[in-house]
Subunit: 116 residues, 2 copies
DNA sequence: TTAGCAATTAGCCATTTAGCTAAATATGGT
DNA sequence: ACCATATTTAGCTAAATGGCTAATTGCTAA
């Protein structure tokens, strides 16, 4: 778990994860998007992959990278349970109540994403 | 948000957060628990406080530290929505289905905590 | 007011991190 | 075989991190 948080501690690495959220990309495509040299980016991708947040597949001379969503979600979730094992349910219940009482007004970040 | 992840990237700082999850403590009490000098620990507490993950209150010659649960939950949640905005609902639905089909068997980390 | 304890700040050193350029390692096309 | 392209590895430097001890600040109590 330390490796995951270490990986997430860098601004550019979090941006890379967000950039990969919609689709897989080659190392080159990612490097174009961010103002950084290819070797530097390669190292970041290596760190993300080593943390299990990203997976790579070589296709010919290209390497395609994609997000491993499950690892991210599971790690953050298990961390939350480690650190705030008791308080979480009250926060959740509070938000549910707020949602129920003033529907459409509670638009916090923690609200469930809409169904398509 | 960068500050929060930076703070979370350290092993000992995550341990401190976990240690504070049950109750507030003075800097000295925390320092006793971890094999580290008081000045070093003080710096860690400063980083956690600066990130908004911990709050401090001076009482006489002691400084009491306590966890700020909300900031942690909100930051992680908003990050998740940033990085996996679309896939999350499918993961959730999948888990709900699994839970419905084999009640009592699905005990993953992402399951809701029990009501007292 | 002076002694003593809690906590933080200052100053120092070793290690790690993040960036770069140049070189090496594929792979594909001619 | 040979050259061009994609990516990673090597090797370097500057800056950040994390630890320590010693010194400082603030408070309590004798």
């Amino acid at each position: 778990m330390g490796k995951v948080f270490q990986a997430l501690s860098s601004d550019i690495r979090r941006k890379i994860l967000a950039y990969l959220s919609a689709s897989s990309m080659t190392a080159g495509e990612i490097a174009e998007r961010f103002d950084i040299s290819k070797p530097s980016l390669s190292k970041h991708l290596g760190i993300l992959e080593n943390a299990g947040l990203v997976s790579s597949e070589k296709k010919g001379q290209f390497v395609h990278y994609s997000l491993v969503e499950d690892n991210l979600l599971n790690t953050l979730n298990s961390f939350i349970h480690e650190v705030c094992p008791c308080g979480k349910i009250y926060v959740e219940e509070s938000r549910e109540k707020a949602r129920a009482q003033t529907p459409g007004r509670e638009v916090s970040q923690t609200e469930k994403p809409q169904r398509d």
